[in-house]
Each structure stands twice: as C-alpha cells, then as structure tokens.
Symmetry: C2
Subunit: 452 residues, 2 copies
C-alpha cells in the first residue's frame, strides 16, 4: 500500500499501515496533545520522543529595557533534567542509567525533543519520567546557576569547533534577520543575562498541550502509550479534556529572505579553512523536496558525488566535502562545505560553485539519476531498521510536514523525479544570492567576487 496520510488536528484517531507490516496510529486528545506510534513486529526495544513545537526561532531578540529570550529554549531543555516536584536530577539520571537506556534531548530551530531508547519493558518508565520532566520541572534557582555554567561551557566547546562556527555564520549570512538565522544556543551574553524567572516564563508560555507531540516506534502498544502519556500529564495537573486554541505558531508561506552578508570570515590560527557556501533553499513542505534529495545526492551526497569526485578524488584538496539541505516552515538553506588548506580555499570554493552551476546548466545524467534513486531508496530502507529513525520520522511528519508518507509512498515519489526536475531546481538555487562563510587563516578579500 502506498500511503501518504494528512495529519489534520481535527481528526481524533487515525490508523494506517506503514513500511511493510508496521502499523502507525495517531491519537489527538481534545486538548490538542498529539500521540503517534509505529509498532514494528518483532522489535524488542522502543524509541520514545516527547516533542514540543518550540525552538530557537520562537525566541525574542529583546530591546530597550527587555533582555529578550535568546538561548532560553536550549537553556530550558537543560533545566528539565534538573528535577521535578517528585524527582531530583539524580533520580532522573538513575532511571535511565540503571536500565542501560539512551536518554537525551535536542533543541532545534523549530522544536525541542526529549527522547529515550529503551528495552520494551522499560518503555512505560520512560513515558512517565520524560512526561514528568516536561510538565513538572521546578527550575530551582541554585540549579539554574549551576546549569548556566554548563551551558557557557557548551557554547565554548562549539566556539572551539571551527566547522560549527562557520556553519552558524553561514546561516546568519544567508538568512539575514530572519529568526531561523540565529544560533540555536543563544550567545554567551544572552546566557549570562538570562534569569530564572525569564526562563520559567518561557517554559509556561511554550510547553502547552497544543504544542506537545509524543511519538514512539518499535515495541510499542498504542493504547498503552496513550494511557501512559495521559497519566503523566494528568498527574501534573494538565486538563486534557479542555479544548485548546488551534496551533498557529508557524507561518505557512515562504518568507521573503534578505541576505545578511555576502562574505563572512572569522580569522583563526587553524590548519584548515572551513568554508561554507550557502543560499536560500526550499521550505519543509515544498513539493520539490524529493527532487532536492536527488540533487543533494548527485552533487554532494556520497563518494561518487560530483563534489567528492572533483574536490577530493581528482585533486586531493579536501578530506571532507559535501552538500546539504536544511528546510524549515517558511525558509530553508542549501549549502556546500569543504575543509581545506587556507591557500586553496578560493580554488575549492570556485570548484564547488562551478559544480552547482554545471548541474544547473547541464543537469544530471541518466546514470547519476538512477544511482541517486538507488542511494536514497536503499538508505531509507536501511534507516528504518532503527526505531530512532522511525520515531523521528513521525515527529517531523507531525510538526514540519503535516502528512505522513510511508516508505512505499516515499519511493514512489522518488521514482517520479526527472532529470529536468533536478536541473530546474539546481538552476533556481544557482540563481539565488550566495553567501560564503569561512573560519581559518583567511580574509574576506580571498573570496572577493564569489558572492556577488
């Protein structure tokens, strides 16, 4: 069965087969809480995610007299591990460590996700503990101060990674003042300025029933999952029967993007230059997203890709070279990356841009198209062996796409992509304003003229 299922909020229950004999079920509680599961026959473990549809883009810059909330979403994510009304930080850590589960969280630009991978018998515990963290954190002032130090260290670690720094600068350069251009973790000054009460306010304002999506995949029984989530939320005093306002947090039309900068360099005494070339990409719901996957595969998605062959195999100029596409509700970024000698940074940047332009003018060969379809379909099949991937796919379907496409439907769409689709998309990308962001022993002058 090929199936692409729309996920409208107004529908309380949906059941559909997905990717072989796995069964996807979705329940929407009256309060707007959404719960999705994918039961995989024979699985002995499960991955669980509690998603909140708030990310760094939803923070405020602040202004005269108000410090803003930059970095508060990520700060909050850390704080939810620090104790609830009934559990200490150590209790939370012990719950997962003592069963050998993986247990972590991530803050992204448009969502925050708390997840755990556990054996089947430990899933109920995971549902309860993460549910408690999400709803009943106390955000103790002393813990808040300790965690401020931890987060400043995390920012320092990222600042010491030249690739991370170049990537963040590239997003800012391409997206300008759009909130998606901001770094996810905030800045050291915004973290130093953050107050316990400010983060508490961010917590109360954003962790609401209608922002919450729970997904689980693997050895999961949907009814037990729903019951477990309800129990955890009711224990926290949430009223699951009171109908909530519909979620309208996200824009649905592509935003108008004004480039922030053409060329940004950060001088560092490093051995390599880390160079990103970026441009506006496509939004998450763009119907050309499958063509984008093919384009990305051909241009910079593997050892046989054009960037790898030209920059690394033929010329030996880089160890790491690739392309990537990031898509969000109302904007996206497409980019090229290489780490290379500073003396070769201009040449490598020119080579990468040339490969994109060649794709825009000449398109892909039938061989390349066939290979990309093989790569993407084989990769998708392999990825679905992990319950992590299935859990994430459910969350992204619900939060970013508004539809769930199973493996067969994804493959059907993939086989519909034509060489013309890819060339047209490449031409559109190549015609957009380019930004170059580089970290290393380089200056703006080195890239002069490459980002007109």
């Amino acid at each position: 069965m090929n199936s692409a299922v729309d996920l409208p909020l107004g529908v309380a229950d949906l059941t559909f087969a997905a990717s072989g004999d796995a069964l996807v079920r979705r329940t929407v509680l009256p309060s707007g809480v959404r719960i999705l599961s994918e039961q995989v026959p024979g699985a002995r473990s499960a991955t669980l995610g509690y998603w909140v549809a708030v990310g760094s883009r939803d923070e405020s810059e602040g202004g005269a007299g108000h410090p803003g909330t930059l970095g508060s979403t990520h700060f909050l994510e850390h704080l939810l591990f620090k104790g609830t009304r009934t559990r200490t930080a150590l209790d939370i850590a012990v719950s997962f460590d003592s069963v050998g589960g993986e247990h972590n969280a991530m803050t992204a630009k448009e969502y925050t996700c708390y997840y755990a991978k556990v054996q089947d018998r430990d899933l109920a515990m995971a549902v309860e503990v993460i549910g408690d963290m999400l709803t009943s954190s106390v955000i103790d002032p002393a813990e808040f101060e300790n965690e401020r130090g931890v987060i400043l260290e995390e920012l320092s670690m990222a600042e010491d990674d030249p690739g991370d720094v170049a990537n963040e600068r590239m997003f800012q350069a391409v997206l300008g003042s759009h909130p998606l251009g901001r770094p996810i973790g905030g800045r050291p000054d915004t973290i130093r300025a953050a107050t316990r009460d400010g983060v508490w306010e961010h917590y109360r304002a954003n962790y609401r029933p209608q922002d919450l999506v729970v997904t689980a995949a693997g050895a999961v029984d949907h009814d037990l999952l729903v019951a477990g989530v309800e129990r955890a939320l009711v224990a926290a005093g949430w009223d699951l029967d009171r109908a909530a306002d519909p979620v309208d947090r996200r824009a649905t039309d592509p935003a108008v993007i004004e480039r922030g900068s053409a060329i940004v360099t950060v001088a560092r005494p490093t051995e390599q230059a880390n160079v990103f070339v970026g441009m506006p990409g496509i939004v998450a719901t763009d119907p050309r997203r499958t063509s984008m996957s093919v384009l990305n595969s051909v241009l910079g998605g593997g050892m046989s890709s054009r960037l790898f062959q030209e920059v690394r195999e033929r010329r030996g100029l880089a160890y790491s070279v690739y392309s990537f596409s990031g898509s969000y509700s109302d904007a996206g970024v497409f980019g090229l990356y290489a780490g290379c000698s500073p003396a070769k940074a201009r040449q490598v940047t020119e080579l990468m841009l040339e490969e994109l332009r060649r794709l825009a003018s000449d398109g892909v060969t039938p061989d390349e198209l066939r290979r990309a379809v093989g790569q993407l379909s084989g990769g998708a099949a392999l990825a679905l062996e992990d319950s992590d991937t299935r859990m994430s796919r459910l969350g992204r379907a619900e939060i970013s796409l508004g539809e769930f496409a199973d493996l067969d439907e994804s493959l059907r769409r993939l086989h519909l992509v034509t060489a013309d689709d890819v060339r047209d998309l490449a031409a559109e990308l190549a015609g957009r304003p380019v930004s170059v962001a580089a970290v290393g022993s380089v200056t703006d002058d080195l890239f002069a003229g490459l980002a007109p």
Copy 2:
C-alpha cells in the same frame, strides 16, 4: 545457553548459538583466513567487515637512512579505495552509493577494518568489492599523490580539534615509547616523506591470508559468505590451500610501560581547556575487563556517574566529562576527560583525580554496583539490535580476545563482579603513574604536582 568459545586457529569449523536465536559460525581456511558470521533471524540487512590484523603500532619509526612507515597503515587504507586491477575508484564508490549502502574503513592501533552495511540482496556485491579492494589494489602513483593531499587535510582537521590533540598527547604521555602511544595517522612530515613504493611494500607485507578476518552479521548465510570470500581471494590469485605460518604478530604478556611525560600542555587560544588525565590501564585479555566496565560506568559512564554528578551537576564546571578505558594486546590506557574553562582546569583535574582516589579507598555502594550492572546489561542488549555491533564484536573477539562470549555469558560475568573487585582495580589504577595532557590557554605550571 551461556557460552564462551575459544577461537584457536587450529580448528577449521565451529558453530555456536549466541545471544538468543542468532547463530555464530566460524571457518578457518588452511591458509589462515578466518571467516565468522552471526545470522540474525528476521534481519533484512547485513554488516560486513574485512579486518586485517595490522595497525599503527605495527609501523616502524625508521632511522638513519630509512624513513620508517609511520602513517602508512592509514595511508594504505585510503589507497585501497582508489582502484584495483578491474575497478576504478569511481566504480568502487558507485557500487555502494547506488544501493544506498554505508561503506567506509577505519585504521586503529592494532587492526584495519573495511566495512559496509547493505540490504541482504547486496551482501554478495559487498563481499566481492571489498575483497577486490583488499587484494588487488594497484596503488597508482598519480592517485597516491592526490591522496597524500587528502590525508594531510585529514591530519589538519584533527589538529584543529583540541580534544583530538589532547587525546593523542595523553596516549603518548602515558605510554612513552611504546608503539601504542603513537598517533594512528602518522605525522605531516612522515606523510610528506612517504613513497608509493614504501606503502606498496607495507601492503604486500601485511595483507596476508593469516592476517585476514572476515566477519558479517545480520541477514547472512555462512556458506554463501565463505564461498564469496573464497571466490574474491582466488580471483586475486591467493592460494587458499597453502598452509601459512601461524600468526604471532601480537605479544601476549603485558608490556613494561615507562611513562613518557607527566604533564604535557599545548598552548592554544581556545575558549576551553581540554584536559585528559591518563594512566596505564589493562590489556584486552585481562580477566578484570568486566570489572573495568563496571568501574568505568560508576566513575564516568553516564549522567548518574560520579564525575558527571560532581563536576557538571553539582558545580557546573564542564559540559562534557567522562572516563574511558582502552585496551590492546600488551598495554592499555585508563583516562578521565573534561572540557572546561582554563581558569578552572586545575580545580577540575583535582576533582577528577579525587573521584578516582575515593573509588580506590571507599569502593562502590551496592546501589552503584546494581545500577552499573543494569546499565551495562541493558546497553549490551540494545546494542545487539544493530548488525554493526554484532559484526564488530566478532572481529574484536577474533583479533583481540581469542574467545567469543555471547550475551548470556557476558551478563553472567557481569553479575559476578563484586564491589571489592571494583575497589581493588580502582586502587591499582590510582597507584599507577599519572599523566596530564591539556590543550588550551594553559601551561604546565597550572598542573604542577598533579602528576607526581
């Protein structure tokens, strides 16, 4: 069934159940080639590894008039992707990219491994292509020069990662002149000095039947695997019937280790100091290796561990803090790591050492022991869901341990570990000479007295 099976070279065929209903089989060809598989019922994909029992420790330093071979093992690993008598580099890349398989290699201190994860229908292709790469590479001089550039970029990338640099310096500091103390990739000067013929010689000398181990896990049929490997090796002209000398590459007794340095610092204008505290650990076959796993779990293995609780949770001094154990045939390293503000680097180092000493004097609590056993057994069960983990476990069993212990046997040993075992091991580690290696805005003076 609990089973720990010895893996003597003299036995041609072994079959044993492992970890539930998976079946492990092992075949030793007369030439010494060893082939192991673990067939997992219901699996739709497989991970394949070709292991060669040669690593960076087997290289020579060189001397008067001879450049040595430092970095040649890793250089060679790269070159095997660059073409054989019948396949170009692009052919090899396309073989895996076109089916969406993962495909890579790693060079370690005591082995090199070429691996692929593919759907079941593509396993025969993977066996053939990697077999061809391993046996029939041409090492074209022009490709050699290109790849020299790629490897120099890879070394530059590692040099720009302060954590990588600190880790390498720590190994050198702890192990002194022992070959295991050397960096795996060589140094820029040894890579610049390497010649095509020198690496070719390294290839011919070390890629012999008796050094080769092939392992596969997941959707794999042992007889087909053996037939496929034999076909690939015979096609390359290997004589699989000629009995080879037994492998005696590895020492079996622990080496006498003389500390290289007490304190090593590399000054860098980074935000964080990356600090490693290291000391000689245990060898791979040490019967206390299960106690070591428990010790490592309690001291620095998760969010509830002592290092995490003391350094991060209570004091907010680091984002990343952990302990680790690395074991090899005749030496090992045990270590502690934290990334922290340079101003706090001494305090954090003292705290980490204090936690090790406290474990040595007071031992672990019954709660901690129970939790560590739960963490390690749960983690082992989850890890076995990936055919990658099973494939690696087979290779390490054959190359490093000389025995294969299934999950039940591993858990049985784990439950035998006592609090006294852990305390005694901690006391032994705490009594060994310590080295501190740090990268950042720090000097040797900062750590004075901490590595007597």
